[in-house]
Symmetry: C2
Subunit: 208 residues, 2 copies
Amino acid sequence: MSKRQQNKEERIQLIIQEAERLFLENGFEKIQMQDIADAAGIGVATLFRYFPKKDQLIVAAAVKNLQPTLERFEQFLNEKGNAYERLEAILHHFFEMQLERTNHARFREAFESYASFVATPLPGIETYIDVQRQIMQTLEPLIEDGKRDGSFRSDIDVKVTVVTIINTFGTFGNNIMLKSHISYLEDDIEPEVQLRALKEMLLASIQA
Amino acid sequence: MSKRQQNKEERIQLIIQEAERLFLENGFEKIQMQDIADAAGIGVATLFRYFPKKDQLIVAAAVKNLQPTLERFEQFLNEKGNAYERLEAILHHFFEMQLERTNHARFREAFESYASFVATPLPGIETYIDVQRQIMQTLEPLIEDGKRDGSFRSDIDVKVTVVTIINTFGTFGNNIMLKSHISYLEDDIEPEVQLRALKEMLLASIQA
DNA sequence: ATGATTATGATAGTTGAACTATCATAATTT
DNA sequence: AAATTATGATAGTTCAACTATCATAATCAT
């Protein structure tokens, strides 16, 4: 690869990284292209050369935001134990990840909300969808194993179960963050308590 | 009430109604104050006299959007049957409501996302929170009854359970809508199937 | 090495939408 | 019917995304 090409790649990565960082804290409405250019240490005209539409940058940041979830899920593919134990481990891990990275979960929700309202699909959204799909597919064999080895109910549908797990656990960012802004309940429930309840609910509902 | 006052009230309600309708289909980014003024048949300057900030109108629309959920939930307060049966009925009803009103669910998510990112709390957000709280409080006695009459597990926490139910069922709009735009999975899961799985999961996880 | 090519960033300009100001006219009130 | 208040058209301001231009700097090809 030529030096020019390499610089370009590095710069794109830097831009996406800074954009993600800024979006995570502030959402995409509040962050201006100027802010991102400043954070990446480049001129705004240069930023626009790389990402002619803010939307493209938002999608790129959303994909980057999703990547770690896929990577960590994949690490659980070859764990030992029966399916129930492995699912428990993965849920526990997911649980901790959501707690650590509440901003990431919130960002994901904001992005999906945003994406769902556009008239024409966002440019590059297929990449995002694809990572989503890969995440789901990581869980599928686990559920199948569980049905086979008898640790899960045999009447559950694999795909539906996977989607339920991801949706239930995944869409928790807003709630946590909203509650930190403005509390839903007089005596607030800790995110940790809430997530634990979700985990237990999921496990209880599919175990044989 | 003077005629002036009355016209004012009616007009405010009309504006909120039209704003909600437009936001539901298009999100708040896409809809301009001009569009709302046109829909309500008034001048944009007049619209700004009633709602000097678009944010205020967004909040008003969000509150209006949440109201029917509360009203319908309240209807279930005095039903017959044991707690399990009543919860099943209410979940079934919630389930159908979410299916009928996917746009409402999506709007709610978009709003909460939006609200969670603002620097200073949205003007009027307390009203919204309050309706949320009332919805939760409607379910609390039901869970308590169930613990008492033995149809629910005795070790569940009332508030946590209520929040879990609302969150799990409530944050389903994006997923449905996103999937209608861009499908997550090759062979798509019907929203109805997905919601039924959620309902069963919830019931299975708290029944004694 | 050096001339050709391409990338950069500063600057100025365009566009679109939220929001403000003004004011003549119309609807209420007294 | 005179005084008060509400309306909506119009023009203007501001701010951020986006475009255009261009002098300068970095890379590349020979």
